[in-house]
Symmetry: C2
Subunit: 137 residues, 2 copies
Amino acid sequence: MPDFERCPCAGGTLDKLVRPAILSVLAAGPLHGYRLVEKLGSLGVSRGVQPDPTGVYRALRSMQRMRLVAARWDVSGPGPAKHVFRLTPAGKACLRTWVETLTTYRYAIDELLVTARHAPKSAKGSAKKNAKRSARR
Amino acid sequence: MPDFERCPCAGGTLDKLVRPAILSVLAAGPLHGYRLVEKLGSLGVSRGVQPDPTGVYRALRSMQRMRLVAARWDVSGPGPAKHVFRLTPAGKACLRTWVETLTTYRYAIDELLVTARHAPKSAKGSAKKNAKRSARR
DNA sequence: ACCACTAGTGGATAACGTCCTATAGCGGAG
DNA sequence: CTCCGCTATAGGACGTTATCCACTAGTGGT
């Protein structure tokens, strides 16, 4: 079997969870981008690896344009200025929508897993082409 | 609250499942693209709507280049020529990898759902910021 | 002075899905 | 007979999203 390192099946391209993850973390309280990245990295959704900061920052700006999060600059503490984000009511509504969507998505994956585990078993067990699934459809 | 019609949270962009879905369907036996699209549409992963044929065809060609599926032309029946695809052993291995990946992914979604449902409840519950500001750098 | 860490960003690229359009075979309505 | 519509496949253009690389800037340690 070939190496599936850069095949989507290896999971490298399964994403789309950055935004709901951000919203989830922000739901616990305002936070600035850098800490957010750290939290996301420890969230399990990231499977151990720190998410790309650029992606997080861009998602934040996008969500800010959508009024899902509001931002302010914090220059009080030490170090560089921090961009602190907090959820807006719209962001909370968005998160609730995400919960519904992800629940549906989870069901879809469940169903797909059942379908996937149905047939493939062994590499040569498909000698039932004559078995005819008579009814059906 | 704004309309979330074109927000990712509405689920319109949750995808990445076309490839494993194709592999799953093909695991049950060879099929040509058009029927495949129909099957995928009735699979629940598609939430009722037929997947975009172009996307399916492109995924098929991509997977053909990766030797995950093999194709032949069927001109025996009536109507236009049909491109019939079947899984290769590599394709079956890929599907098994997908099963592992999606299982992991499902766990990540579960965890994210737990996190998401943790805090947001009402719009005013986050009055605990003073509680633990002391420690931590 | 140099370097590492914190904090935030822009550019380029690639993957993937989606909309619109085009083709070819073929069967039925007018 | 022509037009229409369904089956079946495919290309072009576009938008979104993630990732890699490089950059600015503050702060403190060697």
